[in-house]
């Protein structure tokens, strides 16, 4: 995810509960959301994230591409993913 980063003061629990310490907001991610979040945090590229989800789940690549784009838009909207 070039040029974008997850701020350090965002914590995620094992169950996918996100806490934004800077604003006090919290969100719940499902299993796939949690995996994507963790992949973004480990600096995986968009292509690597798509491959990982396609490999782990039986989903069409085009569906993953579209859903990932939506998910990333949401993360940016809530300032979970910000420009470096």
């Amino acid at each position: 995810m070039s040029n974008f980063n997850i701020p350090e003061n965002i914590a995620i629990s094992e169950s996918g509960f996100l806490f934004l310490a800077g604003t006090g907001e919290s969100f719940t991610l499902n299993q796939i959301g949690k995996e994507i979040f963790n992949l973004i945090r480990t600096k995986s590229s968009e292509e690597e994230i798509i491959d990982s989800i396609v490999n782990d789940y039986d989903i069409e690549k085009s569906t993953v591409q579209k859903d990932l784009a939506d998910f990333i838009t949401q993360l940016k909207q809530y300032s979970i993913l910000i420009k470096e």
Partner: protein
Amino acid sequence: MKIAVTGLNATDNPAPGVHVIRSIKDASDFKGSIIGLVYDSLDPGIYMKDLVAKSYMIPYPSGGLEPLLERIEHIHRKEKLDLIIPTLDSELYGFVKLQPKLNKMGIKSFLPTLENLNIRAKDNLFKFCDDNQIKVPKNFIVTSLHDLYSLSSKLKFPVVVKGIFYDAYIVNNFEEALHSFNKLTSKWGYPIIIQEYVKGDEFNVVGLGDGTGRTVGAVPMRKLYITDKGKGWAGITIDDKVIIELSQKIIEKTKWKSGLELEYIKSAETGEYFLLEINPRFPAWVYLAPSAEQNLPYALVKLAFGESVETFSSFKVGTIFVRSSWDLITDIKTFEQIAAHGEISV
């Protein structure tokens, strides 16, 4: 050590007293008892088990300072008070004026200065912020109906119409502004503040200044649940250096003495904090501070006794308060003690 605390009306618009007491009593080295000073025989704090050793009715400072002083003298003769902590905005001017007399009686206090109280008054806040490069919503001070009509062409709706001490309404047109204006003047008098509406989330900070410009501690909170009266009913401590530094700056510039609550709005558009109000006492949610490892009310007690207090350097982020409503049961005999005799031990 005997500490008297006011503001035990823990209602849907709660006073801070009960929460200040709870904080002090939580301090592991606190050895003493608390006396409640109440304005109403139904103040819930009176009936909370193990909160205060005794409660006494006191007259409102607005009814004149002499009767209040006489009542405190009477209570002092019986209780030998060491410290008084007033917790309500409306009584602070009175207690500041009584301070020299209380000192003479041997009763300590740790109150804001008159300068502190005057800076935070809504009509002076704008100038203070402007002088110190602190963002604040644009303000118009209105002292007559004629002023309001003269402003009508300049107003960009929505705006906030605020009373000098309490209450604020967001209005969307001039008719609504006029309605709120009349409501507020009949309740609180002039001036009325017409304030720019900044869209965003509310963040508050509880802090303690030692009067030299030093911030002893500051804990920021985001309201998670707001009642229809605008009161935070749940909140969470947050990790944001910007709001802490801004609060330290305000305490430094005002040389704030005593507890305070800073109310901010974070602009949804720019992400900047705008200072809305300085409340010259701890807020009702102050118990969140000791829960997040900054016992600011107890630090105030130590300062009042001239002890040195170290600056709190951190707090626990993600600490949440959820206010509750709980019926306390008492009986007519108990109620009689406070209603008819003005004092009660529960």
